[in-house]
Homo-oligomer: 329 residues x 2
């Protein structure tokens, strides 16, 4: 069993002091080229790797980023998180950070977990997925000057923090325009009740696009909690009430329900969902696709900016979604 290779081992091997080895690693420019090479060779030869715990003890930085993994509520829209996490791990890795997982069942517990993670692991930053009006989590973190990014806008716009989001309104607008372009006029919308930032945003994209095309959107939309059964119910209602020729949905779950409602009748109604989940791909549902890998990468960018660089709050990032065309629209 080979004994542990520390910075002292490398120093001995390269006939320099510990500090010089440390400098080669952290501020290479202040070490003479020749020495630097000698140290580097020793590092390679011995397979030395800096011990993160020791480094952390001195610098107070863990190079660890926390992200929450959810219990996959309905499973369909949950897969968004899965893809985001993968992107996050990949880009964080490239930037020299690693992703630590945590779970929590409610906001209070989540905040307690923050305290724990910060206290025992000295986490460098948090990535929060999803935000809501008056989110207590962002407030807690901001109060303590803990670096964090949210994937999702701060809907109250109270205090500014770095965020990355996908332009939901642009997504539904794109979907609606696509339907208008293919000749539809009575284009309905199935979404979520007033008050959720994300839901209101997605509805707005649909509404404005209709208005821009001189179509009156009133009466053409329905709101409900998310879910397949709910989507089916509301679609039935819409078919009876206004007989739309197309429908834009705020989620793939709702869209899937709508598809089932339509299958019952003999009408030909176009359907577009949101999130481009695996289910959408599976059943051939046209859906608004979020650039999740990109979003994750931008989150890491913002964080490293805050962590390694200046104290300025970096500009938020709003990404554009695209339409994954399949055979339902």
């Amino acid at each position: 069993m080979a004994e542990k290779v520390t910075i002292a081992t490398v120093a001995r091997h390269a006939r320099v002091s510990r500090q010089t080895v440390s400098n080669v690693l952290n501020s290479p420019h202040i070490v003479r080229q020749e020495t630097r090479q000698r140290v580097q060779d020793a590092i390679d030869a011995l397979g030395y790797r800096a011990n993160q715990a020791a480094r952390q003890m001195r610098t107070g930085r863990s190079r660890l980023i926390a992200a929450r993994i959810d219990p996959t509520r309905d499973g369909i829209n949950g897969s968004v998180l899965d893809r985001f996490l993968h992107g996050l791990t990949e880009t964080a890795d490239a930037a020299g950070y690693r992703v630590l997982l945590y779970t929590a069942t409610d906001d209070a517990r989540e905040i307690a977990t923050y305290g724990d993670l910060l206290g025992t692991y000295e986490l460098d930053a948090f990535v929060l997925v999803g935000t809501k009006y008056g989110d207590p989590r962002t407030e807690w973190l901001a109060d303590r000057d803990v670096p964090f990014v949210t994937f999702g806008r701060p809907w109250d716009a109270l205090d500014a923090h770095p965020w990355v989001d996908v332009d939901g309104a642009a997504g539904t607008a794109q979907a609606t325009r696509r339907l208008l372009d293919t000749g539809h006029r009575r284009i309905a919308f199935i979404g979520w009740p007033d008050g959720s930032g994300v839901g209101d945003d997605r509805r707005a994209g649909w509404r404005e696009s209709l208005r821009a095309a001189d179509v009156d959107p009133s009466g053409l939309h329905r709101e409900t909690e998310d879910g397949i059964a709910e989507g089916e119910r509301l679609m039935r209602d819409l078919l009876d009430a206004v007989a739309p020729t197309a429908v834009v949905c705020a989620s793939d779950s709702l869209a899937l329900g709508a598809l089932q409602a339509i299958r019952g009748t003999d009408q030909n109604v176009s359907v577009i969902g949101f999130d481009d989940t695996p289910v959408a791909a599976a059943v051939g549902l046209t859906s608004v696709s979020q650039p999740l890998g990109d979003a994750a990468a931008r989150c890491v960018d913002l964080l490293t900016g805050v962590l390694d660089g200046d104290h300025e709050t970096p500009d938020p990032v709003l990404l554009q979604p695209s339409l994954a065309l399949r055979h339902t629209a």
Copy 2:
């Protein structure tokens, strides 16, 4: 800004030495009840949390477990990992461990990542999801005495390591028996090519159940790479060739394809998938459901056994799946 609370702060506050505080945390039984209480009160009052980096430096243990997050191949079967990871995070947390994510595109890179994680973060253990014949990863880890568990059996049975798995054969057997019980006889199977441990296992469950019911399985099965399109293609083939009245599939992707093939015809064929993914729930597909949360918990159990306890290799765990009945069978 409050200054950092260390073990010395607590000691001063409780009028004891640092060592006593450490004992209260690590070996409470050797401290007198009264003193222990006084120290505990100080800890609570000050909100002290042991610094993991410092502890790790002395003990060499990070209380970190690594798990890989994949790029969600086809997205449908990938969601299994998602649910497993959540379970893992939850139970690891309860056992005082945290889950660190990593990614890798191939075995060589994954092994390189092991070296990196072990060297810089001194990871305590790895959880590998999925194993194959002659897996180089398990060999590498075993050679270096790195604790690890696999979710998935070692198919070569070369060297024994702790593992947790779900009995796939039992799952397909259960599915097949269900179909036999409801009157089916010509029950087909769509699975993966020979040579994948998981695939062969699932096929075996179907075959043995048919044989036990005196049905000849020959000609009733087809093999292909995973995927919806492939499932559809093979189901068409089966319908033409042997006109089965039911089919058991090795994955929900294949089952979904089979459903699409059947929808084209007017035949009434029962379909059962495997993995009980969100998609299955969405389209009402009966599917074999793996107890993922349970599996994750058992993985943590095995690991903590190895880490905190004895040096014996713990007995592997084989969990039984259940059938999620929906309206396709």
